[in-house]
């Protein structure tokens, strides 16, 4: 080769186009397998739904899947369309070694804070498990009052099959509860936004004021209540 200009490898469009598209793609049973290699046999995935919304309970689920089981189409609940979530809900319930669902209602969320309420819901989900697990995989938080060994995973619902299964159970259960609330308080259209702070929800909240199902300590509602008091 000649001296002079160093050889620059032109990036080829085919190589660069979607270089990071599978950034989060990995073996969804990786952490389950590692835990099993370490000698644990009942590994529970935990996840929650409804930490962000302005209304409704926070729902947590815990799932122990049998060794090596992969459920087709199962990923993080936010990536799965509603209809498929409903179907997966039944599949997971049928295939799981055991599962538990726990909730913390609106009053609890206001009394302690949302993080503590989430932890409480997770503990309740855990209590409902039979047999009890010996290892926990969680989505980015840990349970201080639970003495089992646990591993918090950032983006856990994409990285672990068990957490993904838990996220589906939690999400579907919470959505059903929001449908119930929709029947009770139809004026907020919970059916559509499930209590999340969408433009429509905020608008209807302005118009009708908050109801029993709203979290009084969340900023928009707390603001409104303060405004009314003044």
């Amino acid at each position: 080769m000649s001296r002079g200009r160093p050889q620059v490898r032109e990036p080829h469009p085919a190589r660069t186009a979607d270089l990071f598209s599978n950034e989060l793609e990995c073996d969804p049973l990786f952490f389950e397998r590692l835990s099993r290699d370490a000698g644990y046999t009942r590994i529970a995935g935990l996840d929650e739904a409804g930490r962000g919304p302005l209304a409704g309970p926070v729902v947590a689920a815990a799932v122990v899947l049998p060794e090596g089981l992969r459920i087709p189409g199962l990923t993080d609940s936010k990536q799965v369309p509603e209809q498929r979530r409903e179907r997966l809900f039944d599949v997971i319930r049928a295939q799981a070694v055991c599962y538990g669902i726990g909730i913390a209602d609106e009053q609890t969320i206001d009394a302690v804070n949302i993080l503590q309420a989430t932890i409480l819901a997770m503990e309740r989900a855990l209590q409902a498990l039979n047999p009890q697990p010996d290892f926990l995989l969680l989505d980015a938080l840990s349970l201080p009052r639970v003495s089992l060994p646990q591993k918090p995973l950032i983006k856990g619902d994409c990285r672990s099959h068990s957490i993904a299964a838990a996220s589906i159970l939690a999400k579907v259960t919470r959505d059903r509860m929001m449908l119930e609330l929709h029947e009770k308080y139809p004026c907020y259209n919970f059916k559509k936004h499930k209590g999340y702070g969408t433009k429509e929800h905020l608008l209807l909240l302005q118009k009708h004021g908050p109801c029993d199902a709203h979290r009084k300590t969340f900023a928009p509602i707390a603001q409104m209540l303060r405004g009314e008091a003044n």
């Binding site: 729902v59 319930r93 669902i101 909730i103 209602d105 409902a128 259960t173 059903r176 509860m177 119930e180």
Partner: protein, 124 residues
Amino acid sequence: MSLLTKLLGQAGEDRAARFLMTQGYRIIERNYRTRSGEIDLIALHDGAVVFIEVKTRTSDAFGAPELAVNPRKQQRMVKAALGYIKYKKLHQVPCRFDVVAITAAAEKEVELIKNAFEMDRTDL
């Protein structure tokens, strides 16, 4: 029925509904009424239609709530259930009767009794 008992019953039903949902039930009807009887909650669970009676008590003073579903009440529930089955054409779907007992003052507040009683098939 006083307003207070009505509110208590309503609150109990709300709690029962949420509890059942954590058990994987899908509530499809609330307070289903016919001339011959009433059913507090109707749900789908494990491929069966479930007719649910919710019993709420503030204390154990009058006995356990699950004992308050007497034969007369059972019969009224069965009649209403048959009406629902006919109305929704569910003759081929398995069904059962559950009771949810809520005691506000007990340590284990919510209790679910599956297959609390059975429908006499000769009624069909």
